[in-house]
Structure formats: C-alpha cells, structure tokens
C-alpha cells in the first residue's frame, strides 16, 4: 500500500509523518503521473486558493477529480475539505466538487478565532480537534456519515471513498483518524470484504 500526499503547498510533511508512523509508505504528489503510483491520497491543510490554482496550473486537477470519482480513497483536511466541497458559500464556483457538502471559508474568523477542543471519535473520548482559520460545514447531503461532531455540527465526515475534516489531526500526536482512513477506507478498497 502506498499513500500519496498532495505536495503543492501547505502542511504536507506532517501528514507524511503520520502515515509513516502507521508503517505505511507515503510519497509526495506533485505531478499527475504520481497519481498512478498510489492507493489513496491526502489533501493537506494550507491555503485552498493556492492549492486550487496550482492543481489546475500543473494539470493535476482533472486526473485527480476523475480518480476520486472512480473511487480513489481521499483524506482531506481543512483546505483539502474546501477543495472537495461541491458548494462554497459566497462563491459561485467550487474546486473538485466531489463531496456533497456546503462549506463556509474562515467561518470562525481570523487567526484570533482559531482554537483547540476535544471530542469523541470512535473509542477515543478526547480526540484533539485543532481548528486554524477553519472552514465550517454548513450543510451535508443525507447519505453522508458524520465521524466527529463539535457542538452538534459535523466537523469530520465520510462519503464513500472520501474522508474530510475541518480541523488538523496531522498537527496533533493522535493518528487515529489517519488509521481509520488506512484501515476502513484504503484497505477495504484494495481488498473488499464481501
């Protein structure tokens, strides 16, 4: 199993370390041809405007979109969530648009509005949620699973092969969400249990 992390801009090294801590190899994706080598992809935090622009400029946008639609497992954090969302408040366009959620950019305000909190995820009662100039998931389609909630709002969701969250698990010491992605999404895609 090989995981790719989109390495155009942002905190991609942190994800690479998380995946490697699970004993899985991880490569940096900078060109469309890198997509052929991987079994799952991480869209890291960073600035969505920059990443969206570079995806198009370096001709990765369409092949990546196609791969995700065909079932390539994807794990997206913060800016990555914005790239996947099919609706962005106050913006007539979207990026990859493969995830049926509506999001709001910088919904908690500027850097002074950034915060850390803890909520349950699976058997972990205090999973760390680090929100940095984070987007907000304002609505989701009915067939989406909510993995983590904060104050009643979805902050981590799963839709088929796509796992996306508004916070930064890669900045914490806890790799449980990455592990979930590897075990429940990537491994299942590679050898489906019938």
């Amino acid at each position: 199993m090989v995981i790719g992390v989109l390495a155009l801009q942002g905190a991609f090294i942190e994800h690479k370390k998380m995946i490697e801590s699970l004993g899985i190899s991880c490569i940096e994706v900078r060109q469309a041809k890198d997509l052929e080598k991987i079994d799952g992809i991480i869209l890291p935090g960073g600035e969505s405007t920059v990443q969206g622009l570079l995806l198009k400029k370096h001709n990765i946008f369409e092949p990546l979109q196609k791969k995700i639609m065909e079932g390539l497992p994807v794990f997206a954090t913060c800016a990555g969530l914005i790239l996947l969302a099919n609706e962005i408040e106050g913006d007539s366009s979207h990026y990859l648009g493969t995830l049926p959620v509506k999001i709001k950019r910088n919904a908690y305000g500027r850097q002074l509005g950034s915060f850390t909190t803890y909520q349950p995820f699976e058997d972990c009662s205090d999973f760390p949620l680090i929100f940095i100039r984070a987007p907000y998931i304002s609505s989701i389609s009915k067939d989406i699973d909510v993995l983590v909630e904060n104050k009643g709002n979805p902050v981590a969701v799963r839709y088929k092969n796509q796992v996306a969250m508004a916070f930064h698990p890669e900045l914490s010491e806890n790799n449980k969400l990455h592990q979930y992605f590897i075990e429940k999404v990537v491994a299942q895609t590679l050898s489906p249990i019938v």
């Binding site: 900078r30 960073g46 622009l53 500027r110 850097q111 940095i132 100039r133």
Partner: protein, 291 residues
C-alpha cells in the same frame, strides 16, 4: 500566552509552508497577489524599496488601509510593526490581523528590547540572521522566523548568507554531544531548552521562511533549495514590469523548486525585474536593526 494558543499560532505558519507571502499596498494589489497564488499578503503603506527611497521614519501602516486589504482577500493578512513598538502591535491585534511582523524594515522604536510577544494572542514572525537571533526571538514568543536579508534591494546575497548561517549553526548543534550544549546556550545567549530542541530535532521549533531581496523565480527556488520552508517577496513583485506574471512564476518556482526545466520556462518573458540596488552600496543596512 497559553501553550495551546502558541501551538495554534505555530500551526498557522505550518499551513503557509511551500507558499509565497507577498507585500501589497492596496486592496487591488492584494487581489492580484491572491489570484497569482500568494498564500498570504503583507499589508503595508510602502514597500521596502520605496521606504528606502523616501528615507525618514517608517511606521506601522494606517489601520484603515489594512482593514480594506483584509476585506479584499480570503487568505491570511499580515502587517508590520516597528521593533519594540508594542502599542503598534496591540493595535494590529485589535484589528485582528492574522500575523504581525516585528520588522527591521520599519524604523526601530526600541534599540534594546524587542516586543514581549508572549503577551499577545496574535502570532508574530521575526527576522533573524543567525541561529542565536532566531532562538532569542522564539524565546520572546515568535511563532515563525524569516531571514532578514536586505529588504528593498532585489539583492539576494544577505538572505542567502542568513539562511546558510542559520542552517550551518543548526547542523553544528545537531552533531554535538549533549554535554556541549550548555556552552552553546551561553554562546548564543538563549535558554538551554531551545538549544536542546535544536540538538534533538535538527531544526528550528518553528517554520523558517526566506525574506529580503527575492526578485526572480530563480531567487525563490535558490532559497528553497537552501532550506527555506517558504518565501516572502516584498518589492520584487509590485516594483516589476508585470506583477501578476512575475508573482505567478515565483509561486510555481517555490512549489517546484528543484525542477530546473520548469523554472527555465517560468523565467521566460517576465518583463522588467525590479531595479536592483547592490546591498554593498546602500547607506541604511536594515539587517543590523535588532539583534
């Protein structure tokens, strides 16, 4: 400042990695920068080249102008305050700036003390020309470091010198035996814990960008290959012939900093670069401000 706030502030700098932070003086320039792929903008009244040309005292920008830039873009907005001028910093915090640059580009307000940045919730970036300076700023609460370079010149030599010096110092400490670290802490005038962090991890505890004198895609890629985690471009963009084109090219060069073929393409037909000033021929040496 509580620990989790400092972690969040360091985290924001991590999100900027692999990106280009551009100096802008108007909302229009901010929009151009964002469209060209800037990961953040630095709002200031005059870019360093003009500050140099105008002479006199250079201060924090008009908050109204900063707010207009904040309203123009969705990316983070930074602004500069004078070294030691903690009231300018309080004002910038009050208007919810995303990052404060306590900058030697402005005229220093205090020739002894830097701002006690631990008293603020908003993050700070500070310039450094060697490891001791970087760690002193971090000890004061800086959540991000950049090289000082020599701003407003378009001359990359100082940024190269500072990046090489910081990384050489880091490598030296990383290779030392533990009982030698106490002496290093004394030599660099920094707390032992920070020296121990560098020894253990072989890197600074915060993100380190290049700044000061970057004018071309090749300059930006040079700094990345020398170990910068991202790049500030000040006068280099809006003092050039075709700002949008140059800005886009620098953004792509930072992402693909080892791809010489691509950088060759990016460097074609960029129009006039900013008029450079040789940093040996100038009177005001900004890198000497703050130690």
């Amino acid at each position: 400042m509580e620990k989790s706030r400092y972690e969040l502030n360091k985290g924001l700098a991590q999100m900027l990695k692999g990106g280009v932070i551009m100096d802008v003086t108007t909302p229009e320039q901010a929009r151009i920068a964002e469209k060209a792929g800037a990961c953040a903008v630095m709002a200031l009244e005059r870019i360093p080249a003009d500050i140099r040309a105008a002479g006199g005292v250079s201060r924090m920008s008009d908050p109204k102008m900063i707010k207009e830039i904040q309203n123009a873009v969705s990316i983070p907005v930074m602004a500069k305050c004078r070294i030691g001028h903690f009231v300018e910093a309080q004002i910038l915090e009050a208007i919810e700036i995303d990052y404060i640059d306590e900058s030697e580009v402005l005229t220093p307000a205090d020739d002894v003390y830097h701002i006690d940045k631990r008293n603020f919730k908003v993050p700070f970036v500070c310039g450094a020309k060697d490891l001791g300076e970087a760690l002193r700023r971090i000890n004061e609460g800086a959540a991000m470091i950049r090289t000082k370079g020599e701003p407003g010149t378009g001359d990359i030599i100082q940024a190269v010198r500072h990046m090489r010096k910081i990384n050489a110092d880091i490598r030296r400490i990383h290779g030392m035996s533990e009982d030698e670290l106490f002496e290093v802490a004394k030599e660099l005038q920094v707390p032992y814990d920070l020296v121990a962090y560098v020894h253990k991890n072989g890197k600074l505890p915060v993100v380190n960008f290049a700044a000061g004198g970057v004018a071309t895609p090749a300059d930006a890629a040079l700094m990345m290959q020398l170990g910068a985690e991202g790049v500030f471009v000040g006068s280099g963009i809006f003092k050039s012939g075709d700002p949008f084109k140059r800005a886009s090219a620098i953004v792509s060069a930072v992402t693909n900093y080892t791809d010489a073929k691509l950088i060759a393409q990016l460097s074609e037909n960029l129009g006039e670069a900013m008029v450079g000033i040789n940093s040996d021929e100038i009177e005001i040496i900004m890198e000497r401000r703050g130690q």
